[in-house]
């Protein structure tokens, strides 16, 4: 990185964090610290909701996913706008009327304390682990490519977030997220413009789309009814709808963002803003990945984008094998590039037969390249036991570092750090709120002043932050856990959503029935996860429907006399 990149990176981060602390220090009442004093306007809510979901992995991994698999991942978000509408109608009025600090507070008023604390505990478990991963995942990629210390990178991200989140609470989170989101969007637009400008002279934008399309990168929709196919129109609309309902409706990380609104109308507008702009934003990020793919049809890509892992493999017995694979890969690239130029000429001539023939040759050349990459990955796996052979997370950042002009590298790193910080800040604030409201104030210290609870909230924020940084620092020893944590959300969200839907829709089902139903539903979801290859998006549907079914069955069963605590 050049001096200009460092100035851009550190200057922008310092400005955002400094502004957030300056605007929000001195808050010492619970409503102010946990809900931002209910002063946030709809656009701050909208940007804050988007920033909380968009972690650094969104910007690092999504372009790489498009590079490899095309635009199909966009289907994951199709259920989100419908969920925003449903939440605006069904959930918001109840949260606002009860003036809750956390989503789980509502469950005690409807069921009982044990249901509230069971659900809050599931949230703390899942989100607590996730906060560490939100720091670790971008840190490992950035530190690998730039040669930084992993521990210092984790400490840097976590330390800065802990500072402004402890000082300013929920309001600091929202204010900084607004600026971070603006920087993230601007950065991605800049990345898109630069990658298009880096295409060779003589390749029109239209022809570059044809090239991407010929190689299957623009097939966004998959209409397959097969539930084992991960991203389809159906899993996106239905599974994605349930996932979005659970995440935005019951996960305190998001609920806290829109409970800080000035009015219920501002909250609604913020959610609908998210519903309107989320898909275009994700499409743009995926499209950057597609254009990076086109760039690498004219400029030689590495055979494996995780260069440090490749370097480790080259120090082994398999060095010779890898060297010949790299040579073959270069030759395959030259051949493919020649075919792509032929395709470009055929497109300009508008000769349909020539275009079809040329596309066939390009696809064959691409298959040869892909086969060599697969061989290289298999060789790396043999050379370095336990090596991570998935390199899609490294595609975008390695493109940025090698191909963007000075200053813009710093800007794209700002995007990645802003995304990491905005997501972690939202998580820490939510973890602290839930610990304080659903456990500490509820069961441990029930009578104390606001000032005492704010101090406790600050301690909990710092505590969860330290835990997250510690977990991130040691996460490299637990590669398999990362994979488990990534699907942890979908393992639990369906069940939690089912609890809330019962709470909203049925007066007859009581606390014990709902708790038993949650346990039964969770067992089914885990069984499906272990025994089948059904896409994880469907877990949300299965968990939710199972809770709805079992709750009614258990409630209808003959039982002991009802205690007052269960009403």
């Amino acid at each position: 990185m050049s001096a200009l990149d460092w100035i851009v990176l550190l200057g922008t981060l310092a400005a955002i964090v400094g502004f957030g602390i300056w605007r929000t220090h001195g808050t010492n009442d619970m409503a102010g610290y946990l809900r931002g004093g209910n002063q946030e306007k709809w656009h701050t809510i909208g940007l804050s909701v988007m920033a909380t979901q968009a972690s650094a992995i969104t910007f690092l991994s999504t372009p790489g996913q498009a590079y490899q698999d095309g635009m199909g991942f966009i289907q994951f978000y199709f259920g989100l706008p419908l969920a925003m509408i449903a939440l605006s109608i069904l959930f918001l009025p109840r949260y606002f009327n009860l003036r809750v600090f956390t989503a789980y507070e509502f469950l005690e008023s409807r069921f009982d304390r044990k249901t509230r604390q069971l659900t809050a505990f599931l949230f703390l478990l899942q989100r607590g682990l996730s906060a560490g991963i939100t720091i670790y995942a971008p840190a490992i990629i950035v530190s690998s490519i730039l040669g930084w210390s992993l521990r210092l990178t984790c400490l840097g991200i976590g330390g800065v977030v802990i500072l402004y989140t402890v000082v300013g609470g929920a309001k600091a989170v929202s204010q900084t997220q607004k600026q971070q989101m603006i920087v993230m969007l601007a950065g991605m637009v800049v990345a898109f413009v630069v990658v298009v400008m880096r295409l060779p002279d003589g390749i029109s934008f239209g022809n570059s789309l044809h090239i991407a399309g010929a190689l299957g990168k623009l097939d966004a929709l998959n209409l397959s009814p097969d539930p084992t196919v991960r991203y389809t129109l159906w899993s996106g609309l239905l599974g994605g709808f349930f996932l979005a309902m659970a995440y935005f409706g019951t996960d305190q990380t998001q609920v806290q963002r829109y409970l800080g609104a000035r009015t219920i109308a501002a909250s609604r507008l913020g959610l609908l803003f998210n519903g309107l702009f989320k898909i275009p934003m994700q499409a743009m990020i995926l499209f950057v990945g597609v254009m990076v793919f086109v760039f690498y049809q004219f400029n030689p890509p590495p055979i494996f984008f995780n260069q440090p892992e490749l370097a480790r493999a080259k120090q082994s017995f398999y060095a010779g094998q890898l060297a010949s694979l790299e040579q073959a890969h270069v030759a395959a690239f030259e051949h493919k590039r020649a075919e792509i130029w032929q395709l470009d000429r055929a497109l300009d001539s508008h000769d349909a037969a020539a275009i079809a023939a040329s596309e066939k040759r390009v696809r064959a050349a691409e298959a040869d390249s892909a086969a060599l990459r697969a061989k290289a990955k298999a060789t790396i796996a043999q050379a370095v036991p336990g090596a991570n052979t998935k390199d899609t997370d490294y595609v975008f950042l390695s493109f940025v570092v090698r191909n963007l002009p000075r200053g813009l590298v710093g800007l794209l790193l700002v995007v990645i750090f802003c995304a990491a910080m905005s997501a972690v800040a939202g998580e820490l604030s939510a973890l602290a709120s839930t610990t304080l409201v659903d456990f500490y104030r509820c069961s441990i210290r029930t009578e104390a002043t606001d000032a005492h609870y704010v101090k406790a909230a600050k301690l909990f924020t710092a505590g969860w932050g330290v835990l997250a940084v510690l977990f991130a620092t040691f996460a490299s020893m637990l590669d398999n856990l990362i994979q488990a944590v990534n699907i942890l959300g979908s393992l639990f969200y369906g069940t939690i959503l089912g609890i809330f839907i019962i709470a909203f829709s049925s007066r007859r089902v009581r606390g014990t029935a709902v708790c038993l139903a949650a346990i039964a539903a969770e067992s089914i979801v885990v069984a499906v996860f272990v025994a089948t290859t059904i896409s994880f998006l469907w877990y949300n549907v299965i968990g939710c429907l199972a809770v709805l079914l079992f709750a009614r069955i258990f409630e209808a069963m003959p039982s002991r006399p009802v205690r007052k605590a269960d009403r």
Binding site: M71, I74, F78, P81, L82, M84, I85, S88, I89, P93, L209, H210, A212, G213, A214, L218, D219, A220, L221, L233, T263, I264, A265, A266, R268, L269, L272, G275, L276, I279, P280, A283
Partner: protein, 40 residues
């Protein structure tokens, strides 16, 4: 848009927004289908 009690809130204004968001989703899905079809 106001935050008055639901009964006095003009529901049609919110309904228009809900239709707008749902309509935008339909248009986006159609646009992706068209993109894939044109550049297949």
């Amino acid at each position: 848009m106001s935050d008055k009690a639901p009964n006095s809130e003009p529901a049609y204004r919110w309904n228009v927004l809900y239709i707008l968001v749902g309509g935008a989703l339909a248009l986006e899905i159609a646009a992706f289908a068209l993109l894939g079809w044109i550049y297949r």
